[in-house]
């Protein structure tokens, strides 16, 4: 098959720095279909909230997206997306997204995108690499729905790959290389999805993490039957995983954890991004 259609090569390149008591987004380069909305400050000027969006609605095979996010020393940002990211059934090619984040000294990033919906027969691979200064803090989550479960679709064709790496001083702290081929065996087996379309991961790294927090976080329970777990990574980080029926329940669980972490690390309550509340909460 000759490939004649052109594919999106969208990109985002953002950089944050402190200016007085305010975190300023001083580099905002966006190439369609990725866009970034004007930053806002619903909490205080130190925390820059920003929302990115995919103007074409979703990714198809052959699309290549890349994002580069830099937080200079002492800056603080919260990032999310305006809506779920859809990855459509593949035309034979793989869709790919590369995200690179660099956090300088004492920088704080909360990376809380809305869910990714990977359609059955989609081919999608996402690489995320985060380079953390030892004094920087990160809370990042990733919520994925495999198959359009609301329509009864199951993920039994295609593949979903997700590489998530956190490095510090050129040493890997956390490497998560997930490869989920869509097939009956992975869908049904306990090793894989055990017939659960929703999976989610949260990681947290910060010099402010107290080891006792893990026992508190384990008190958070999901609203629906789901398997969840929390463990400690190298470098005193935290890893939380969810596998269940609905991404809405996954998000509710993750928000509880996020709230506890925010309280413990910075003594601040959560500030729910307004864009989330517009979303329907159907699984």
């Amino acid at each position: 098959m000759t490939e004649t259609t052109s594919h999106w090569q969208g990109s985002l390149d953002l950089a944050f720095r402190p200016q007085g008591d305010r975190t300023q987004m001083y580099r905002t380069y966006a190439k369609a279909p990725l866009k970034i909305q004007r930053p806002f400050y619903p909490e205080n000027p130190a925390v820059c909230h920003s929302v990115s969006l995919h103007t074409a609605g979703g990714m198809v095979g052959g699309d290549r997206l890349s994002q580069q996010i830099n937080l200079d020393r002492g800056s603080r940002a919260l990032m999310t997306t305006v809506a779920a990211t859809k990855v459509y059934r593949s035309n034979g090619l793989e869709a790919e997204q590369k995200i690179k984040m660099t956090l300088g000294d004492r920088a704080v990033l909360e990376w809380l995108p809305q869910e990714t919906i990977v359609f059955n027969n989609a081919q999608y691979r996402q690489h995320t690499r985060i380079d953390l200064a030892p004094t920087a803090s990160l809370i990042a989550w990733d919520i994925v729905r495999l198959g359009r479960s609301a329509r009864g679709e199951t993920f039994i064709g295609g593949a979903f790959g997700q590489n998530l790496e956190v490095w510090q001083n050129q040493q890997p702290l956390w490497i998560d290389r997930l490869w989920l081929p869509g097939n009956e065996r992975i869908w049904h087996s306990e090793n894989g999805l055990a017939q659960n379309p929703a999976i989610a991961t949260l990681i947290c790294f910060s010099p402010q993490i107290e080891p006792e927090i893990i026992a508190q976080l384990r008190q958070c329970t999901p609203s629906e039957a789901a398997k969840v777990g929390i463990t400690q990574t190298q470098g005193g980080g935290l890893l939380c995983r969810y596998r269940g029926q609905s991404t809405a329940a996954a998000r509710q669980w993750l928000i509880q954890i996020w709230a506890m972490l925010r309280q413990s690390l910075w003594q601040t309550p959560v500030c729910i991004p307004r864009v989330w509340q517009l979303q329907s909460l159907q699984g």
Partner: protein
């Protein structure tokens, strides 16, 4: 069989023996939890778990890192051995799995050094993972890579069957039947793992990760992972 081949075989039998005192018997890699949850409850469900792990799970990655440690040792590239050791530590799913891998690795390293002083001089002094120690030992002990890969996977399978036999419980003969049934899978996985490029070092570890996290807080347990 030449003398060196005979030596290689003897070394392999010693390295892969369940009697190797590295403490493998104390780790179940989540199986204790899965048995408590009744996900694994008999011969067939244990077979399915192990067969699926060997087909898609993180044991493939661990074995592929053992292969890398073996090859790097042959070319005396200690920096590479150390890189893959850090990589493996970072990719272990949970605290328990990381600890078990490092505890067994340190013990094996010390044993290898006791048998043949000087052999482990260039290795990471702390937190050496089992797969790394095994790869280094296999290379130093003139075991061919194909045999070392099969043996690594077979030893892993044997010790998890042992955990299942003890906990489900199953008869010893049933345990041996399971190992017998998994021979084809062990061969396929060993062949696939040896040719796995770095970009394909990924796995479906969701079930293992959740089971191992649950094990960390399990109330009654005999095993350390």
């Amino acid at each position: 069989m030449s003398t060196s081949e005979a030596l290689g075989l003897l070394n392999l039998l010693q390295l892969a023996s369940p009697a190797l005192p590295v403490g493998a018997y104390s780790y179940s890699e989540g199986i204790e939890t899965l048995i408590e949850q009744q996900v694994i409850r008999d011969r067939d469900s244990l077979y399915t778990w192990l067969d699926t792990e060997l087909s898609y799970g993180s044991i493939r990655i661990e074995t592929a890192i053992m292969v890398r440690a073996y090859l790097a040792t042959q070319s005396e590239d200690w920096e590479k051995v150390s890189f893959w050791n850090s990589w493996l530590s970072a990719s272990r799913e949970t605290l328990e799995l990381r600890r078990s891998s490092q505890q067994m690795g340190q013990t094996l390293l010390k044993l290898v050094e006791d048998l043949e002083p000087g052999v482990t001089a260039h290795l990471p002094a702390h937190s050496c993972n089992y797969a790394i120690a095994f790869g280094v030992a296999a290379s130093r002990w003139q075991i061919d890579l194909e045999s070392a890969t099969l043996a690594y996977l077979q030893a892993w399978t044997t010790h998890l069957i042992g955990a299942g036999v003890k906990l489900i419980p199953l008869g010893q003969t049933t345990g041996q039947q399971l190992l017998w049934m998994l021979r084809d899978r062990l061969m396929t996985t060993a062949a696939a793992v040896r040719s796995l490029p770095d970009s394909a070092l990924s796995s479906c570890n969701w079930g293992l990760s959740l089971a191992s996290m649950a094990h960390e807080t399990q109330y009654m347990r005999l095993f350390r992972s």
